[in-house]
Subunit: 316 residues, 2 copies
C-alpha cells in the first residue's frame, strides 16, 4: 500500500520531545507537523498531546484522533474539538511504568525515607519503629486500568487496599467504595491516598483540604500521605501546602501539577516533605506505541473498526 | 502446665530492644536475662542474638537454641558454642519486610531517586530518560527463602532476574547460576546486585572490588548498583568506596556493615551515592515470633521435634 493511497498523519504534540514520534510514524505514513505541509494528501489522522486549540477543527479530512497517554482531558479541553472518535493509547509499558511509580512512592513513604535520610545526614544509627505493611491501608481513588494494576502490585506486598470509583468496583481482597455517598468512608479508612482519577469537570480540584482532612492520621505511621499520579487539575496546591503545614498530611509525592511545568516560584519545590517528579510517572514510549497506532490506522482503513475508544460523554 | 514443670528460657539478645521479647516470652515461660536469676529452674532454652561468647557453654541444662533472625552467623561465631540444635526464626513478617526492603531499594535505584532529588533541589522540571524494567536485570546472590521471595516480587514488576547460589536453583522465568564456576557469568549479566547470602567462612569479604568490577555497567541506567541486605561480613567497605569513586559502582544501598553500629567515622555515612539503613531491612517482631517459639518449646517437650533447624555443617 503506497503512502499516497492512505491517510496522512498530523503530529500535534506539545511539551513532549517530537523527533522520536515523527521517526516512528514516518516508517509507514506521511507525517506533517503543520497542515500546510500536507499538500494535497488528506490528513485523516491526528496524533495529539495538548494540541493547539482550534487546530483539529481546521482539518476537513480528519477522521480519527489518537491521544498520547491514558488521560484525554488534554484533548477534550479544546472547545472547538470536532466530534470524531478518539483512540486512547493503552500500552503495557505505560501500565508497567505506573505500577512501578505507585509502588515506589508507597514504599518510600511506608519505609520512612525522609526519616532515614535525616538520620544518615547526622551519622546516626537508629531504626525507627516500622509497622508491617498489613497495618497500613493504601486507598486508590480512581480504579481504571492503571489503578487496578497498581493496586494489585501494592496488595501483593501485604498492604490493605481500599478503592473508590464513581461506580463501585469489584476486586479480590480489596475494600471497594463507590459514588459520592461512600467517599468519606473510603477516606476515613485510608492512610496513603493514591490519586489516579480521570480529570473531568466533576473531579476538578477534588483533592482539597476538606478531602485530605478526612484521611486517617492516627495510624502506625503517624500521619496521612498523598500520591497524585493522575492529573494536576485534580488538586488544589494551596490546600496541599496548608495540609502539610497543619499536620493534615505528613508527606506528599506529586507527579502532576495545576500548571505544568510547575512554575519556579511554587513553594512545592522546596517543601521538605514533598517529592516532585515532572509528570514522568508513566512515560509513553514511541517505539512501543506507534506500531499499535499504525496497526489501528491500517485496520480502520480495512473495516472501519477502532479499539480503546474514549467515552466522550463520561469525559474519559 | 505450670512454669515449674517446663524449662526456663535465657534471653541473651544484644543490640536489640529487650523489653518486648521479655514481655512476650514471659506470658508462658520463666525468662531470665542472667543464668544466676534462674535459681533451681533448669534453663533448657536460649533465645539469642549476638550472645556473649562462652555464655551458652556455661548452661548445663541447655537443650535448644533459638536464633532471632534468618541468619545465624551471629550464633555460630562463638567458638565455645555447645553442639545443640539451633532453631532459626522464619516468620512471614520477616520475609515480607525483606521483600519490601529489596523492592524499595531496587525501585529507588531504577527510578533514579538521586537524580530527581537533585533536580528538585534546583527547581528544575526535567524528566531523565527512564528505561523500562524489562531492560534492567536484577541479580540475587543468595537464593534462600528471603532471596526467592524478594526475586519473585521484583520479577512481578517486569525486571529480568538472575540468581546465583552455591547449588544452582530452579525458578520460573529466572536465569539461574550455581557454584564458583558460574559466578562471573552471573555478574556479567547483572545491573543491580542484591546480596542476601549467608555469612560463612567461605563468603566473608566476597563483595570486594574484583567482584563488583564484573557487574554490567553499559546498561540503560548507565552503571551498576549494589544492595546488601545480607550481612556486613560479606562486604569489604573500603572496596565499595573505591568502586563508587572509580565508576565501578553507580550507587549502593547498604543495610549491614563490617562493624555494627557503623562507626561515626565511616566515610559511608556522608557518601552522596550511598543509602544507609541500620540493619533494619527486616525486623523481627516479637509479637509475631514469640508465639511460634513458645509453640516449638511445647512441641519439643511433647515429642522432641523441632522445625527450621540450622545445618551447622553448611554454616546456615
Amino acid at each position: 500500500m503506497g503512502q499516497q493511497e492512505t491517510g496522512s498523519v498530523l503530529l500535534a504534540i506539545n511539551g513532549v520531545e517530537r523527533d522520536i514520534w515523527m521517526h516512528e510514524l514516518a516508517k509507514k505514513r506521511q507525517v506533517v507537523l503543520d497542515p500546510a505541509e500536507a499538500g494535497t494528501a488528506p490528513i485523516r489522522y491526528a496524533v495529539v498531546w495538548k494540541q493547539q486549540r482550534g487546530l483539529l477543527a481546521s482539518l476537513p479530512d480528519l477522521e480519527v484522533i489518537f491521544s498520547l497517554g491514558a488521560g484525554v482531558d488534554h484533548v477534550l479541553s479544546d472547545p472547538t474539538l470536532p466530534d470524531l472518535p478518539i483512540v486512547r493509547v493503552v500500552s503495557p509499558n505505560l501500565t508497567q511504568y505506573m505500577v512501578e511509580y505507585v509502588t515506589w512512592r508507597v514504599l518510600d513513604h511506608h519505609r520512612q525515607m525522609l526519616t532515614y535520610r535525616n538520620l544518615q545526614a547526622n551519622s546516626e544509627w537508629f531504626a525507627p519503629a516500622q509497622p508491617p505493611a498489613p497495618e497500613i491501608s493504601v486507598g486508590f481513588m480512581g480504579f481504571g486500568e492503571l489503578g487496578r494494576a497498581s493496586a494489585n502490585a501494592v496488595q501483593s506486598l501485604g498492604f490493605q487496599i481500599n478503592t473508590w470509583s464513581r461506580r463501585k468496583a469489584q476486586a479480590d481482597g480489596m475494600k471497594c467504595f463507590g459514588g459520592a455517598d461512600e467517599l468519606d468512608a473510603f477516606l476515613n479508612e485510608t492512610d496513603i491516598l493514591v490519586v489516579l482519577l480521570p480529570h473531568t469537570p466533576q473531579t476538578t480540584g477534588i483533592i482539597n483540604h476538606a478531602l485530605l482532612s478526612k484521611l486517617r492520621r492516627d495510624n502506625a505511621l503517624g500521619g496521612a500521605f498523598l500520591i497524585n499520579a493522575g492529573r494536576g487539575g485534580l488538586q488544589k496546591e494551596v490546600d496541599i501546602l496548608r495540609a502539610l503545614d497543619d499536620g493534615t498530611l505528613k508527606e506528599a509525592s506529586l507527579d502532576v501539577f495545576e500548571i505544568e511545568p510547575l512554575p519556579k516560584a511554587s513553594p512545592l519545590w522546596a517543601h521538605p516533605r514533598v517529592f516532585i517528579t515532572p509528570h514522568s510517572s508513566a512515560v509513553s514510549d514511541a517505539r512501543e506505541l506507534v506500531p499499535a497506532m499504525l496497526r489501528q490506522m491500517d485496520q480502520y482503513e480495512r473495516d472501519g473498526k477502532l479499539q480503546h475508544l474514549v467515552d466522550r460523554k463520561a469525559g474519559y
